[in-house]
Amino acid sequence: MSDAVLLRAGPQAAIRGVTGEGRRTRAVLIAVAVAFLGLFLFMPLAVVFVEALRRGAGAYFAAFADPDAQAAIRLTLTVAAIAVPLNLVFGVAAAWATAKFDFVGKSLLTTLIDLPFSVSPVVSGLVYVLVFGANGLFGPWLRAHHVEIIFALPGIVLATVFVTFPFIARELIPLMQDQGSAEEEAALTLGAGGFKTFLTVTLPNIKWGLLYGVLLCNARAMGEFGAVSVVSGHIRGLTNTMPLEVEILYNEYNLVAAFALASLLACLALVTLLLKSLLEWRYGHAIAGTGAH
């Protein structure tokens, strides 16, 4: 029996597939990719943890005991806790509007959704300073009413919301377009109201894609540096987020503390990646919108 298999495999093995590369080409391509990943991804990641633990676990955990570091962690969590739910609502609304309705200016809206991706984060931060800052457009009015936006939590949240806006909307638009409106229409003919239709039909159909978008949005919200750096004012213990605190510590040659905080961000990235892969593996078809239906 094994002879028969060999006989059949023999001539086929000699014929190279149409798109098949030579063995050597393949090896070189894989080596280049692995070397690139190792040099630019794995090595820096390893360096973060090695540097953080250079003076031992005691120094590593001492870095988190610092009040400024704790304030930075708290602020980052607070900003993400406000920005992500806001973008969840905005993202679902924008995706709903563009995927299920036809209206004038729809293509403009889809283009604008991508704007935060194409604008440098520093510029978007600067815009908020120009609008809400002390010398900005609404600056005097805001000061008169004792509203602090720039160099305070609202400014940081605003900048983060802007930068992370596209993640959820971008994830949902193709998914909702692919699913169409037939199921919603069916729910309407069966007597369900608009909100009930959204809760019972639309939301369950997009939940995995939504979760995926929230995950990416959250990772970016916690890691954002540029836009936040412009609006925060770098007041330690008050308006410094984790990425900003890392930079300051590094500039003070407090390497262990800088890398300890950085390792926390790196862990967040790794957990996000893990969850993202799990989601893709388990609900890949639901996220891509090609449900078997």
Partner: protein, 366 residues
């Protein structure tokens, strides 16, 4: 075989609503989908909206359902103006072309949906819902499939779940959009028969959209033929076949042959040969004679027949398809015959059992 639905007492005059559509117009952007459509549907009637794609039949169905708002015109249910009524309040059972089942719900969840989403004071108790879903699944012969998801069902089963879901709300009218379009031939035949039986038993007013004339003729009491946003003719299948009101209806329903006719001084001629036909108000000039292949017979040449020559003869399942070149005409026509004695090249005469003359000219050789 089909259990009538509770709370709907079928009467001699059928169940559900009568529907009157008056002067409905609808455009999408610059594209007019319907121009001034009138249609009356009696209580308990089974009506097909038949037409090619783009004829506006689905738009008309969606307007009746309330999913589309007409630019002008009215939709009446039981003599009451329903034009401004929200789709939720119309109580229409709509079966979508691709079923539109809720993919994240089981068969049970799908069928129960319309009852579960009702406001609390109108919502039936859980036990009543369960009983109702069970009887509906019996009705569509899907008992035991309660826990399946739509992705685990075949096309025909999904279609029947969609029907059960639409019927769960005790609709005043059942609307079906291309109900059998996506199914294979065998399943389609079974479902057609099922729908006819169901309609006979329930008497529910039913409107379905199709582009398949066989389907429309086979199932419907009456057929409305749509073309380019207008209703060309409404009638029983016999009416449409025997007395088509326009060349479009004639050629859309059943196979036809169009032959160019020239009339002068009240005498119609084909390729110079005189024919006997009622002129029906057709004046002098060119017009078109529509024939059905089965209504032409091959005889010996002689008076009262059209002289021609036999071309190719092909076998079909039922008999033979004979190509005949009529003297004086450029294009040959097809004649269906059970038996053919003539051979290719023979000179023969054609006897026309029926002729229908419509104004117009032949645009292209078809």
């Amino acid at each position: 075989m089909v259990t009538p639905l509770p709370e709907q007492a079928p009467t001699d005059r059928g169940a559900g609503s009568d529907i009157r559509v008056a002067a409905i117009a609808k455009g999408f952007g610059n594209y007019p989908a319907l121009h001034g459509v009138d249609l009356d549907i009696a209580r308990g009637e089974l009506v097909a909206l038949l037409g090619p794609s783009g004829s506006g039949k689905t738009t008309l169905l969606r307007i009746i359902a309330g999913l589309e708002r007409p630019d002008s015109g009215t939709v009446m249910f039981d003599g009451e103006d329903a034009t401004g009524l929200r789709v939720q309040d119309r109580r229409v059972g709509l079966v979508f072309q691709h079923y539109a089942l809720f993919r994240h719900m089981t068969v049970y969840g799908n069928v129960a949906y319309g009852l579960r989403v009702r406001a609390r004071r109108r919502r039936p108790p859980r036990a009543v819902i369960r009983e109702r879903v069970r009887s509906l699944l019996d009705l569509v012969q899907l008992a035991g499939f309660e826990d399946r998801y739509p992705a685990q069902l075949s096309g025909g089963q999904r279609q029947r779940v969609a029907l059960a879901r639409a019927l769960a709300i005790e609709p005043k009218v059942l609307l079906l959009d291309e109900p059998f379009g996506a199914l294979d031939a065998k399943v389609r035949k079974d479902l057609r028969r099922w729908l006819r039986d169901f309609h006979r038993a329930s008497g529910l007013t039913t409107i379905f959209v199709t582009h398949d004339q066989d389907e429309a003729m086979e199932i419907a009491d009456r057929v409305a033929v749509l073309n380019e946003g207008r209703i060309e003719q409404v009638g029983s299948p016999d009416d449409l076949y025997e007395r088509p009101a326009s060349p479009f209806v004639m050629s859309f329903i059943g196979e036809t042959v169009a032959v160019e006719v020239v009339t002068r001084n009240g005498v119609a001629r084909i390729g110079g040969q005189r024919i006997n036909t009622a002129l029906d108000g057709i004046g002098d000039g060119p017009s078109l004679l529509y024939l059905r292949p089965g209504e032409i017979s091959i005889t010996a040449p002689g008076p009262g027949t059209l002289a021609g020559r036999v071309g190719a003869i092909r076998r079909t399942a039922a008999g033979y398809r004979v190509e005949v070149a009529i003297d004086g005409l450029a294009a040959a026509i097809d004649v269906l015959a059970e038996k053919v004695e003539a051979k290719p090249g023979d000179r023969i005469g054609l006897a026309l059992a029926r002729t229908r003359l419509f104004p117009g000219e032949l645009r292209s050789a078809s």
